[in-house]
Amino acid sequence: MSAKLKNKGVVPSITVPDGGKWATTARQTAADLLSETGLPHRRDEYWKYTDPTTLTAPEATPAAIFKSDEALPFDGVDAVKIVFVDGVYDAAQSDALELAGVEIETLADAAQKDIHWAGSVYGVLEGRGQNPVSRPLASYNTAVSEQGFVIRATGKAAKPISFIYLHESETSDAVIHHTIKLDEGADLTVLENGPAAARINAVMEVEVADSAAFHHVRAQGRDHERRTATHIFARLGTESSFKSFTLTVNGILTRNDAIIEFTGDNAHATVAGACAGDGAFHHDDTVFITHDAVNCESRQVFKKVLRNGAVGVFQGKILVKPDAQKTDGYQISQGLLLDENSTFQAKPELEIYADDVACSHGSTVGAIDDTALFYLTSRGIPHKEAQDMLTLAFLGEAIDEVEDEALADDLRSLLQGWMARRHS
């Protein structure tokens, strides 16, 4: 990191990187805010269940590199592949930054230019997401990040953009910031996969203009010791659509925040995730959806399978502003505990100021259904295989949120691999 943090809520001293005008302004604003809020600590309302110490420590805790000969997820997808190694863009391993209907530039290049739209997105959506809950790790990211891409979709993208985050140094500490804008009617899919570094702080800001559609599918890598904090900030225009899905298997600490704001009517947002953790695994999804427009629909679907002391956390809020009539907000979070040592904590919140809305939320935690297990084994399916079938079925309900069948199949086979490895 170019600037070191001090721990425990103490304001870090930050030197923002030089760049063009718009980037410098945004970085300075974020740095100023951070000096007001300080870094997160356990006493903060939304850090009660997750200890941020290793995320805010001056140095990343070293993490062993996970080696595998297996193909990476989404390998078979025809996409513009953009590779990062330990959080640094590697042009040599990447495809040319050319895609019909899309402009792609590195953050470093874009920051030198007068790109007007970038100035209205970079640090801006993140800044809007700081209220009413401050998100200091995102402020920090905006203030210091020099890695990431600035992407504008002007029409329907010919193929997805696929970010591949390789982890090669045991002590790497990455800060990545993507800034994405979809113009009216545009359609773009962004894929992400890989652990990125020993520690990663990632922010993605997505402006989805009227009638545009953004799809995001992410797999967070198989490294056991990596630590990850991600934020997605999205603002949705009229009749737009935003769908984000995250698969997490392994990783000692993962905190994924999604902050979605509806500003145009008749829009749709889905934020979904499936995770599977075994042993030293702490996984926290924190979602904040603000309905500030009429007749919008939001879905949150999160499923966590936990064993050997793994911990799952879900904090999900739906805020419906006074004029956001006809809001349809749905939220489900479920934990499947494969043993008695694992825990799942859920904190669903609804805050509704409009009177004509349909919001529902549910949260469950439980073990494998014995009756179903007996039914399967009585047909000759071995116990472990039967347990895997039921586990996959449980997570499958979250994966069903991924529209693209090929991508969904990739995710299912990642999970199958994870489960098969538990038996060896």
Binding site: Y375, S378, L390, A393
Partner: protein, 251 residues
Amino acid sequence: MLEIKNLHVGLEEEDKQILKGVNLTVETGKVHAIMGPNGSGKSTLSYVLSGKDGYEVTDGSAELEGVDILDMEPEERAAAGLFLAFQYPVEIPGVGNMTFLRTAVNAQRKARGEEELSAAEFLKVVREKAKSLKIDADMLKRPVNVGFSGGEKKRNEILQMAMLEPKMCILDETDSGLDVDAMKLVAEGVNALRDAGRSFLVITHYQRLLDHIKPDVVHIMADGKIVKTGGPELALEVENNGYADILAEVA
């Protein structure tokens, strides 16, 4: 084929004895029926034989082709040739019926050292058998038993039995909740499987199923024991006079 001797079974969780000395021998190729009032222990017997948790065998034995099955895992009993058509088939959201069937068939083949069926071979066989049970493609695609009607669930049990080709088939109240047409369909499915090498234990509360699946031997179970054994005429006696007379007679 199946030999049950002096079987005593209680619940694991509470101090309650359910089976109190069941003796029963089903010969190879024969169809035996068990009738009896509700709560007499018929389902418990079928669960204990197929290996469900929660029961404790306190005495006696159960052997399938001379091999003690009571210490086996449910999947081992299945691979050994035992099959239970459930009184209440279980719904399993998220697991496709077809995937379930194929996994089960191949798991059993593997356990027996046989070659697994390819997807194409499996599909051909399952389509044929499903058709004769009037199970349509949609039911095969849907999650196991989810949203199936009572009759569809029971037909799905018979389809599983037809695919797995067990040696010893136990049918627990497969007729309950079926209308006459559905019952005929199910009975035809069962009769199609009747074979010199295959035995059946048909548990039923009513005689009417036995009009379609003709038993060789009929047992009456009451309060955890077989209290009377006879030929098909015993079922008719139950039909005409109810259980009261028989129970009074053996008391």
